[in-house]
């Protein structure tokens, strides 16, 4: 990779200041960002390490799970309060990447990166999560704006994410066998915001809500309700791992499995 300067601020104000510089990029767990640097897909002059900011931690209340931005996937997966209160979230975290990636990768990094095949965007969108940043709060609906694109300003840092706890929820993904990224991942949730179905891995613009499935499941929360609900192949990814038509089919299969899992 190209060389850069590195700084590890110990307070948020310094981190924001550092990110105000030209070509400065934030580093969280590095499990997406360091591969990006190695492939020279990004050439920052300054890398701002967020690990010293104390943004790690998990709080579970009666109605929400709040996770600090630099909390690792392994920490979320292993947290017994999350496992009890919102098991689908713990399971999602436990399925990200692999053991080593989960020991370093963070929820803030995953959401800020908005990889179109990442898992966290699906649960954030499906539960109408709130993202807390250094300057404001954002709803999940307004946060995700396209592949690798979010509402974040260049010097804005996610500090925490709050997930309203759904009554029923599950996440099922069809993984690429080597990278373990979702070829298609579907998170279904029924809770205060109603029924939401969020699909990752499939769309060219990243995570999206499946309106037709949400309507069907609102009428009847069962895998059978999804019979015949088509997913248009238009706008879906076609690549060496699968065609858009294949992904469209997978969306239906994963959604039915997710509802079945959520019921049990």
């Amino acid at each position: 990779m190209y060389d850069f300067s590195y700084t590890k601020p110990i307070c948020l104000a310094d981190a924001v200041l550092a990110l105000n510089g030209l070509d400065a990029k934030a580093l969280a767990g590095g499990q997406s960002f360091i591969p990006v640097l190695k492939q020279r897909l990004n050439r920052p002059s300054l890398v701002v390490d967020l690990a010293g900011l104390g943004l790690s931690g998990i709080t579970v209340s009666d109605d929400a799970v709040t996770i600090g931005a630099t909390t690792t996937h392994a920490a979320v997966a292993a947290n017994s309060d999350v496992q009890k209160a919102f098991p689908a979230l713990a399971c999602l975290a436990a399925g990200i990447g692999d053991l080593q990636v989960r020991h370093r990768g963070t929820i803030g990094g995953s959401l800020a990166n908005n990889d179109p095949a990442a898992d966290y965007p699906a649960v954030a969108l499906a539960t109408a999560a709130t993202l807390h940043t250094t300057t404001r709060t954002l709803t999940a609906d307004e946060f995700f704006q396209g592949m690798f694109t979010t509402a974040l300003e260049p010097d804005e840092i996610i500090t925490a994410v709050s997930f309203p706890i759904p009554h029923q929820a599950a996440y099922v993904k069809f993984r690429n066998p080597a990278s373990r990224y979702a070829m298609v991942g579907v998170f279904v949730a029924r809770g205060e915001p109603g029924v939401r179905v969020a699909v990752t891995g499939a769309g060219q613009n990243g995570v999206f809500r499946h309106a037709a499935m949400e309507q069907a499941l609102s009428r009847s929360w069962s895998p059978a309700a999804l019979e015949g609900i088509a997913t248009p192949a238009e706008g879906l990814n076609s690549d060496i791992h699968g065609s858009a038509d294949y992904r469209a089919h997978l969306v239906g299969v994963m959604a039915k499995r997710a509802v079945g899992l959520a019921e049990s």
Binding site: L27, V47, A51, L99, R104
Partner: protein, 165 residues
């Protein structure tokens, strides 16, 4: 040039690095610890797995500077000073869990992490799930899984349940 201070295999080291130096490069090129391997460009293969503060991590996906103040253990840090193999290394030998050996350091480091984080027991399914970040092109994984199951018993002071054949 920036400097990084960390403990590697029990020894305190302070090394000059570039910001872009990866932890695996520091280990291999600056410290001569070439047991940790670079097997892919994509953070998938796990030949570079080491322990950082007790957790298995991919050293190709960590900047050396991120390891400031940490304790790193590589495969060279496993055997005793007199050459006695770590029980996990011994079980890899016993169960023929390697052929070319390229993935083996990463496999052994991951294996030890799995055993240490499962004091209550380690099922075959948990072993296979735990190995998802380590790819092997030679063995087909079965003997690796057997070696790790046996390693769990030895590391927890129990007799090995099944003979190697």
């Amino acid at each position: 040039m920036p400097q990084v201070s960390l403990t590697v295999n029990g020894r305190r080291e302070t090394i000059e690095v570039e910001a872009r130096t990866l932890l695996v490069e520091l280990l291999r090129e600056k410290l001569g610890l070439t047991g940790t391997h670079v097997g892919c460009d994509t953070s998938q293969c796990g030949a570079c797995v080491v322990h950082l503060d007790g957790q298995s991590v991919k050293s190709c996906s960590i900047l050396a500077l991120q390891a400031e103040g940490t304790r790193v253990t590589t495969v060279e840090g496993l055997a005793a000073a007199d050459g006695t193999l770590h029980p996990m290394q011994d079980m890899f030998r016993e169960f023929h869990a390697l052929q070319c050996g390229f993935c083996t350091p990463g496999m052994v480091m991951t294996a030890i992490d799995l055993v240490q984080s499962h004091p209550e027991g380690l099922t075959e399914a948990q072993i296979r799930h735990g190995l998802e970040g380590n790819l092997c092109r030679c063995t087909g994984y079965h003997n690796i899984v057997k070696a790790i199951a046996a390693g769990w018993h030895l590391m927890h002071g129990k007799p090995v349940a099944q003979a190697a054949e």
